[in-house]
Each structure stands twice: as C-alpha cells, then as structure tokens.
Amino acid sequence: MNTLFLIVEIAGERIALPSHEVESVVRVENIVIVPGVSPVIAGLFALRSRVLTLIDTQFLVTEESRLVHKGDFCIVTEIDGHPYGLIVDNVEDVVTVKQGNLMHIGFANKKWRAISNGMITHDEKLLLLLNLRSLVKIDILVAA
C-alpha cells in the first residue's frame, strides 16, 4: 500500500510528514507573539476563525528560535482538537512512498529522535519522518 507524504525543510533538513495529518499549507500573516511561554510556541495566527498555535519546529531541533516572518510556510494540522501551525523553512512536494520503505532509526541525534517516527526512502534518499503529535507534547520541553 502506498502512502502520501509531504516533504518540507526544517533546519536545513528535508523531512517527510504523513500527508493525511496535514490539513493545509498556508503562508502566515500577522503573528501575535505569546510572551511568557515555551519558546517552542512561535506565536498565534488567526486562520479565518481559528487561532492556530504556531510551533517553531526549528527550535525543537536546534534550540535556536527561528524568527517568523510574514509569508513563511506553515503546515496546518489539528492535534487533540487544537489547531496548530508548524513553521517550516520550505515546502517541497507531496510524494508517494511504498509502505515497506518505512524503517526505524537507531542513529539519528537525540533531538531528532524525539520528534520522528523513523525514516522513509524516496528517490533513493533517506528522509526523516516527523511525528506531529510529539511536537506539541508538553514533555517536549524537557526533551528539547
């Protein structure tokens, strides 16, 4: 069975996201900064009537906050009833990957391991597979 994946770029790496978990990809506009919270939260962004919590995915990997600009790509997803926007550097493409090409990793660095589900191969290249749910867990702060 084949699965669709969205390929994005985070902190210079090409990452795959299971596309059924992705609602849409939008460019952010006016961002409202949320002071006093974990730096993982890049801000709030109103997508029509919904308020998305923006997640700084780069911070999770590099511990360096990424300045979010108007027009940056944001992956819209809903986890446990809360709408999120994942800020990524770039959005490449949606690709089809065979089920069997998923493998588990034993060598990725600790930060990546905390937020990924394994790897997939596409075009004979390895891609990390992002675990969206792990991005918004509270204990991600400890891991990060």
């Binding site: 409202v32 006093g36 709030l44 109103a46 009537s49 919904r50 919590t53 809360h82």
Partner: protein
C-alpha cells in the same frame, strides 16, 4: 448497511434511555399513570424488536423480560413495588451498558440471567400481592393485609382507566409460566405497537456534532470576513450603493450567528433527567425518604455547560440528601414532614442561568462548622468570631471541610464543596448559600448563558493586547491617582491603594515582555484582580482598552502549561487575543512574593464594612465645589432623568418607582438631561444628594480638622492641598423622623378650640401634625392627652393649669403670665411640648 442500522439503534436507544428512568420513577410514584407505563412498555418493546432484527441476543433477552413486566403492569396485574422497580431499573441499566458497549466494543460480563431471574422473582412477588388484592375484592372482610388498603384505593381508578384505554386488547390475567416463555416472542403484544404513538410536535433531525461545529466555525469566519469587508469599505469614498447591500449582509450574518448559537442550546432537562434516579438510589442507600421536585426543565442552556455541570450538580444533590436531609426519626422529632424534600429550580435571568437547589434539611450548623474550621486550623477562634455569617458559611468551600457528622459512602470525606466551587468557577459561574439553620439550605448557582462567551476586559501592554475576565476584576484605578503608591520592599513591589496593600506586578514583568515602556504613561492603569482563590492582587498595564464580549477557546496544552493564560480569543479585528488566567496568575504572584500564600481566601464582609466606615466619597457638587461624604451612608449612585424631578412643598423630590424622595444639593431643577444623585441611606430611609460628579474614594485618616458648623460639616479634610468639607449626613435625615412612627406611637395633643378659632385650625394644627403629633380637639381626650394646648385668654377652669399644659399668648411681649409662649415662636412652642411630654 448493518453497521449503520446498529449505530442508529444505539443512538436512538441512548436518547430514549435518558427519559426512560424518569418515566419508571414516575410509574413508581403514580402506579395508575397509564401514560408512563405505556411509554416504558413502548421502549422495551422497540428495543426488543430491533434486537431481534439486529441479532443482539443479550439485549433481546433483557428487553423481553422487561417487556413481560410492563405488559403485566399495563394490564394492571402488578403494582410497582419498590423492589420491583429496582429490578426494572437494573435491567434498564444493563440495557444502557450493553448499548454503549456496542459502540465501544467493550465486553460486559454476562450475568444478565441473574438480573432476569431477579426480575421474575419480583414479578411473582408483586403479582402475589396484587392477587391478594383481587381476593380481597371478592371477599370484602378486610383480612390482616391492612397495608394493601391504601394501595387498593389508589389502584381502583388505574384499573378502570387502563381497561378503558385498552378495551380492544385481550387482557391476560393468567400468563403462561414466564421463565419458559423467554425466547419466544410474545405475540399478544405485537399489535400494541400500533397504539397511537405520541405525535412528535417538534420535528427534529439528528445532526452530527462535527457538522454543527463546522457550521459554527463557518459562521465565525463569515463574521470576520464581514468585518474585513467593513474595514475595506470604510476606506472607499463613495459607497452609498454598497452600504444598503452591506447592511443587509450584516443583518443576515447576525441572524445566522444567533441561530447557530441557539443550535448549541439544549434543554436543561438533559441535566436534570438523571437526578430523580440519583435521589432514589441515595434514599435507598441512606434509608431516608426524599422527594425531589424539579422546576424549570424548559430552560435552555449551552450544550457544553450541561456536561460541565453534571458532576457539580450531582455532588450538590448528594450533599443535600446526605447531610442536609435528616433521618426520618430526626425529622419527626423536629416536627417536620418525615419525607425530606429537595427542590431544584432553573430559570433564566438576562444572560444568566440560575439553578437553585433547596433542601428542607437541617441546614449548616455553624457551631459544628466552627469546630471543623478551627480543628483543621483554617482559622483561629478569634478570626472565626469576627467573620460575617456569609464568610462563615463560605468556609464550607474551603478544602478539607465537611460538616457531615459521619463519613458515609456518599459524601463527607471532605473532598467536595471546594471541588464543586472550582468546577463552577471554571465555567465562570458563582455559587452562593442561604442557610436557614434547622430549616434547610438554599444553594444558588449562577452561570453564564454560554460557556464560550465571557465578558472580558482588554488591555494593552507594550504593543501586545491581553484580556482578562471581567468577573475577576475588582477595580480599575489610574496609576497617577493620588491614592496609589507603589512601594518597593525587598525586591518585590506592593501597591498601596487607599491604604490597602496588594501584591503588585507589571504585566510586562509577569509575561516577560521586554519592549514595554519603562516610564509610566498617562493611561497606566492598575487592575485590581480578585481571583477565585487567594488574595487580590494588582496588575499594572499600559492601558485598559475596552469591555468586550469574547468567544474564548481553550489554548493548546503547550500554551496552557505556562500557567498564565486561560485561552485564546479572536475578537472582531481578527487579531488573536490572549486571555489571562486570573487564578493561576495569582498563584504565580503569591509564590514570588512574601505577601499572600497563607492569606485569606474568603471574602471577609466585616473587612469590607470597616473600609466603608473609614472611607469617603469625594465628589463635586453642582456648584463645582469638592466635598466628601462617608461611604457608610452611601448606597449607590443613581442617574435620573430630569423629568422625574420636581419641586413640591418647597422640597425638591425625585420620583423613583412611584415613590417620592427628597433631594438635597439641588438649587434649580434642570429641564432636561440626567441628574446624578447619591443615594444615602440611614438603614431605613433614602435621601438623595445631587452631585456633578463622583470623583474618587478616599481614605479618611485621623487628620480631620474640626468645623464650626458640625451639623452641616463634620470636619475639613486636606486633599491635594485643597480643603474639602466632609458633609455630615445627619442633616439629611434629622427632619422627618417622626413621620415614620406609626399613628399609635405618636404623642397625643389636645387642642382646646371651643371657639372654633381659625388660627388654631389653620396654623397650629398643621404644624403639630407635620411635626408628628396626633391632634384631638375632643374634650373627651383631655385625660389621655400627653400635652394640652390652651390660650391664656381662655378660662382655666378645666384644669388647664396642670403640668402637661402649654399656654400660648397672642402678643409677642411677655405679660404677667410668664409661663406662656408666644404663638409664633415655633421653636419655643415645640420645645415646650417636648418638655411636657418628657415630664409626663
């Protein structure tokens, strides 16, 4: 296809189950209520039918058994005894459990057979007892079965009624052995389903929650889009054509928004329907007789609210039943109806829903509460004694307090009312108590109409906007106000407002904004926040922007983890707004502050009273002068339209709710506009003082300079280098005290007016009446009179020289009768009358 049918079945059954329990209980209460019996029968019958079709054997067996019982009941063969009803309820519970299990794919242990056997046992029991009744009917002599007498009477009409209704039905008095009959369909009852079903007047359809939510967010989008268009439109110069169309759009968007919010509403009955069963179970367990009365089931309430209220309300009812209502013996000893009563009232009041839970139990025993509070070290005896009654009662909401004498399985473990109150507060509601010791307790929940819309106060800090729930805001005061000082003590700041000290935090420090202005700007405002628990504190913000109705959504867990925010909101401008959580912020401030921590968590009414006594309102009179008046006499400020003010009898009066009240401080009555009035009260009467403006509340210190005219001015204060008179409120009330005495208490004056003197009639009589005396000119009353008035030229032959007599003279100059008073010396005359009364 099958899946869909099963889902439909589950949904429908679950819906019906909600009302079924109350039907069963209704049947128990009114055995001759054929309607209840019918609908219970219909339910089990429908379940049975569907189960056979859908191949759900366990449900089939259960519903079949229940159907048998109900069929017997419908035919009037059995009576709903307590234990029979319990068995039926057990079956219904199992049906509910199994129905839910179909959806969740859980396994439920299969001891259905036990329940069914139990049921038939009860059926046999119930039948025997009603057989007794039949025997009795045939043999009129009342045998030992006296206890069936009342039942028999209550059943007679039932029998005739039900046989009337089912005249066409074959009445089966003798049924085949039921236990063997279990798996074969009961053909006799097949046709019953054709009995006229209730016609459903409110046609409804089932819509999935997802669609509803989508619709709601769609409408919210629409509102935002409309706002955007409105902004764009305002930039255009010529928009007259568009304006009309846009107006129409606006109207229909608003209409749609209302309609959608109505869709969220549900009958509060959904919340109440589980309660009769709850009360029945508790009564059984505690062996008390409790009657539940529910009123206001038609009130509509937000769907989410119903879920949020379920636990707290259950807890409240349990409490009322367990430690409110006394045991049967205690009730009888106290001269009460041995059957305890719990009443639940729901009603809508503006945009509030009030739910009252009233029991006629013993109420809260303050002495026992005192002991509990003191032994759990929440208060010292001294602290307790100065608490107001309300503050004392509120202690039941303190963690770890229970007034139950003993711990039962239902309540009394001390976890409870604090959790209830927190739950209620979480949905922006409040809870209040009215205790009637020995007679019962009334508990009132007041809740917002919907969960998701709160009245918020938006404020600015740096270039960020925040909001806070207005319910928790106690006061707003400008930072530059002279009553405000910020003290820096040991690294933490304390705000001092009118002598009261609060933990202080600047919002930018609280949330960690670095770009906020360092220098306080003119609009800097202190927001005094009163959290649900803990002490009030002060947040300093750059500006308070507006009061807004905010649709609040819970924030993502990562956001909530900070403990600062209660959620997010999207106001009409489309920019997300963060809602501060007044309660968790309190914890943050108190943990960083040597202040608080162990501070009071109960609003202390006495403290409130103290503040009133030592504070005064600074105001500007209509002449533009600043004056002050003690807060203790001030009720409130009213704004009254000028047309309700008039001058009569030389006094300016205002008409409020069909009553006239005196106004002071008003020279000329304006023709139009609004007049601001301070309502003063001495506890019994209202007087009004016209003011230009209320300026501020000030603390009175000891430095009040004396005044030369203490009747009018208590003293002089110095405020910002200016002198301000502190008005003596006494002057407003001193005049008409006598008017309020009832007629019999007024002293009686006898007026000797045999000559029919005009002066006596026209001048003296009204004066005395207005002063508050009773007047008589009847000579018979002379003995009863407290004071006798006579004229010096009248004959003194009727004992007028007695010591309670006042002599009046017509000439101003004193003649030989030094004991007389000049008749126009009003003060002298009144003083003389008072003197005589005092002596008499």
């Amino acid at each position: 296809m099958m899946e869909e049918l099963i889902n439909d079945f589950v949904e429908e059954t679950r819906d019906n189950l909600e009302s079924l329990t109350s039907q069963i209980l209704n049947w128990e209460k009114n055995p001759n209520d054929s309607e209840s019996v019918d609908s219970i029968f219909r339910f089990v019958h429908t379940v049975k039918g569907s189960c056979g079709f859908l191949d759900l054997p366990r449900l089939l067996a259960l519903s079949h058994a229940a159907e048998d019982i109900m069929s017997e009941a419908r035919d009037g063969n059995i009576l709903p005894t307590h234990s029979l009803v319990s068995s039926v309820l057990a079956i219904v519970d199992r049906i509910a459990l199994l129905t839910n299990a179909i959806e969740t794919n859980n396994d439920i242990i299969d001891d259905d057979a036990n329940l069914i056997t139990e049921l038939y046992k009860e059926l046999e029991g119930a039948r025997t007892s009603s057989d007794d009744r039949h025997i009795q009917d045939e043999t009129p002599q009342p045998t030992g079965a006296d206890k069936f007498e009342p039942l028999k009477q209550s059943l007679e009409p039932a029998e005739s009624q039900s046989s009337d209704q089912f005249i066409a039905q074959p009445i089966n008095f003798i049924t085949a052995p039921l236990t063997e009959n279990m798996s074969s369909p009961n053909d006799d009852n097949r046709e019953v389903i054709n009995t006229p079903q209730e016609i459903n007047e409110n046609k409804t359809i089932r819509v999935s929650l997802n669609i509803l939510n989508n619709l709601m967010s769609g409408v919210s989008d629409l509102v935002l889009a409309r706002n955007e268009v409105s902004r764009k439109l305002s930039e255009l110069l010529d928009k007259s054509d568009v304006d009309v169309v846009f107006g129409r759009l606006t109207a229909s968007v608003a209409e749609m928004r209302d309609a959608v919010s109505l869709m969220r509403m549900q009958n509060i009955d959904r919340l109440f329907s589980a309660l009769p069963r709850l009360v029945r179970d508790i009564s059984d367990e505690l062996d008390k007789d409790i009657e539940l009365e529910i009123d206001g089931s038609e009130v509509e309430i937000d769907r989410e609210m119903i879920e949020a209220l379920r636990d707290p309300l259950t807890h409240i009812i349990r409490n009322a039943a367990d430690h409110g209502i006394e045991s049967r013996e205690e009730r009888i000893a106290a001269g009460k109806n041995p059957i305890g009563k719990i009443r639940i009232n729901a009603r809508q009041l503006g945009n509030q829903i009030l739910i009252e839970v009233i029991d006629d139990g013993s109420g809260i025993n303050l002495n026992r509460l005192r002991q509990k509070v003191i032994t759990s070290k929440l208060k010292t005896p001294e602290q307790w004694d100065i608490l107001s009654e309300k503050a004392k009662l509120d202690m039941i909401f303190a963690p770890g307090i229970s007034t139950a004498k003993s711990i039962t399985s239902i309540s009394g473990r001390g976890v409870g009312m604090d959790v209830v109150r927190n739950n209620i507060m979480n949905i922006s509601g409040t809870i209040s108590l009215e205790n009637n010791e020995g007679q019962g307790l009334k508990l009132t929940l007041s809740l917002p109409l919907t969960l998701s819309i709160i009245a918020g106060l938006s404020m600015r800090c740096g270039d960020q906007m925040f909001a806070i729930s207005r319910n928790s805001v106690q006061e707003l005061i400008l930072k530059k106000n002279n009553n405000v000082t910020i003290e820096d003590i040991g690294g933490s700041k304390i705000a001092c407002i009118r002598g009261e000290r609060f933990p202080y935090v600047h919002l930018s420090d609280l949330v960690g904004i670095t770009n906020s202005q360092d220098i306080a700007c003119d609009s800097s405002t202190l927001v005094v926040v009163k959290p649900a628990l803990g002490k009030s504190y002060v947040i300093d913000v750059d500006a308070v922007i507006d009061n807004e109705e905010l649709v609040v959504k819970p924030g993502a867990p990562l956001l909530m983890a900070s403990g600062l925010y209660a959620g997010t909101s999207l106001p009409d401008n489309g920019r997300p707004l963060l809602l501060l959580d007044a309660n968790t912020v309190a914890e943050k401030i108190c943990s960083n502050n040597q202040y608080g921590g162990t501070e009071e968590y109960v609003v202390d009414d006495n403290e409130d009273e103290k503040i009133k006594l030592t504070s005064a309102l600074l105001f500007e009179t209509l002449d533009g002068e600043q004056k002050a008046i003690r807060l203790s006499v001030l009720d409130r400020i009213e704004e009254v339209e000028a047309k309700f003010i008039g001058k009569s009898g030389g006094i300016n009066r205002v008409k409020i709710k069909d009553k006239l009240y005196e106004i002071f401080g008003l020279e000329a009555i304006p023709e139009t506009g609004i007049v601001k009035l301070l309502r003063l009260s001495d506890g019994e009467r209202w007087k009004f003082l016209a003011v230009n403006e209320a300026i501020d509340i000030i603390k009175l210190n000891e430095n009040i300079a004396p005044s030369l005219n203490p009747e009018k001015t208590e003293g002089v204060l110095t405020i910002d280098e200016t002198q301000v008179e502190l008005i003596n409120p006494y002057q407003f009330f001193e005049h008409d005290s006598a008017v309020y005495l009832s007629d019999n208490e007024k002293p009686l004056c006898y007026l000797n007016n045999e000559d029919g003197d005009d002066w006596t009639d026209k001048i003296l009589l009204p004066l005395l009446k207005a002063t508050g005396y009773r007047i008589s000119t009847n000579i018979e009353d002379i003995k009863k009179a407290d004071v006798i008035l006579s004229f010096e030229d009248q004959d003194n032959d009727i004992g007028f020289d007695s010591k309670n007599c006042v002599n009046l003279r017509k000439n101003m100059a004193v003649n030989e009768n030094i004991n007389s008073i000049y008749r126009y010396d009003r003060l002298g005359l009144l003083a003389a009358i008072e003197d005589r009364i005092a002596r008499g």
